[in-house]
């Protein structure tokens, strides 16, 4: 029988993978992908709690799913802006390696 804890554990491990990616990788694009993994781990636990809180007429709690909808929208906007910043940075410095972008001033 699959319990709530199993879904939360999968979500926690996925978050840790994204967290490790942000800390270990030096390529800015991979760091953005790892951020997406962390956001989606949060989405998974929200949906699991939504399915767990069944109300009196036998429907899941749709408030959490509306939250997930908002998170997906904001994440898509964030990715678009982040990738545009990476392109602008690449034009200026010809690199996406964070270890070579250590100065605020070009």
């Amino acid at each position: 029988m699959i319990t709530l804890g199993d879904y939360l554990m999968v979500s926690g491990i996925l978050f840790a993978i994204g967290f490790a990616g942000v800390m270990l990788r030096r390529n800015l694009i991979i760091i953005l992908m790892s951020l997406e993994l962390m956001l989606n781990a949060a989405n998974l636990s929200l949906v699991a709690f939504s399915r767990f809180r069944v109300n009196s007429i036998g429907l899941p709690d749709y408030n959490a799913q509306v939250f997930v909808f908002f998170i997906i929208t904001v994440a898509a906007a964030e990715i678009a802006v982040g990738l545009a910043i990476i392109v602008a940075l690449y034009r200026a410095r010809q690199t996406t390696d964070v270890s070579q972008i250590s100065q605020l001033k070009f």
Binding site: M1, I2, T3, L4, G5, D6, Y7, M9, V10, G12, I13, L14, F15, A16, I17, G18, F19, A20, G21, M23, L24, R25, R26, N27, I29, I30, M33, S34, E36, L37, N43, L44, V47, A48, S50, R51, F52, V54, G58, L59, P60, Y62, N63, Q65, V66, F69, F70, I72, T73, V74, A75, A77, I79, A80, V81, L83, A84, V87, A88, Y90
Partner: protein, 167 residues
């Protein structure tokens, strides 16, 4: 959903999520991210959240991934040349992530409700699009409009950021 399918899709999500971090080639990372998100969409559908699962496939596997691949091709990134890995820093990063997993595991194993299986649903729950839409246009009307403005600001910002400076 049967436990077997749950573990198949959970392992798919986690293994390809780890492949995103481990792969040296950015294109391989982006394609691993697609598979990971498809597994996650299957997990959403196993929780009877069909709308969220479909949105996940459309937005991530469709739009965001095309954006990532376009940028990778545009910047002409090659696989990182195999420079020496700083093993001490890598071990530190992995250790912090493992500590995080351990903490989450200890919290979940002490949580009483986490041992409960999911309660049964009423007969038909396939009209979740209607229910989410009703909430979106009643209780969450103001946040919905704010998100609309946010998307507009993001569009204008992206155009402004990627415009070449007129000389």
């Amino acid at each position: 959903m049967s436990p077997f399918l749950f573990w198949v899709f959970a392992l798919l999500t986690l293994i390809f999520g780890a492949a995103v971090v481990i792969n040296r080639n950015p294109v391989a990372s982006a394609l691993s991210l697609v598979v990971s998100f498809l597994g996650l969409a299957a997990l959403f559908m196993s929780l009877n959240a069909y709308f969220v699962g479909i949105i996940q496939v459309l937005v991530y596997a469709g739009a965001v991934m095309v954006l990532f691949l376009f940028i990778i091709m545009l910047l002409n990134l090659r696989a990182e040349e195999s420079r020496r890995i700083n093993w001490l820093a890598s071990a530190g990063g992995v250790a912090v992530a493992l500590i995080l997993v351990g903490q989450i595991f200890s919290v979940i194993s002490h949580l009483k409700i986490a041992q409960n299986p999911f309660p049964p649903l009423a007969g038909s729950t396939t009209d979740d699009v209607r229910n989410i839409g009703a909430l979106l246009f009643t209780n969450y009307n103001l946040p919905f409009q704010i998100v609309g403005v946010l998307v507009l600001v993001a569009t204008v910002g992206v155009v402004l950021l990627s415009r070449r400076e007129p000389r």
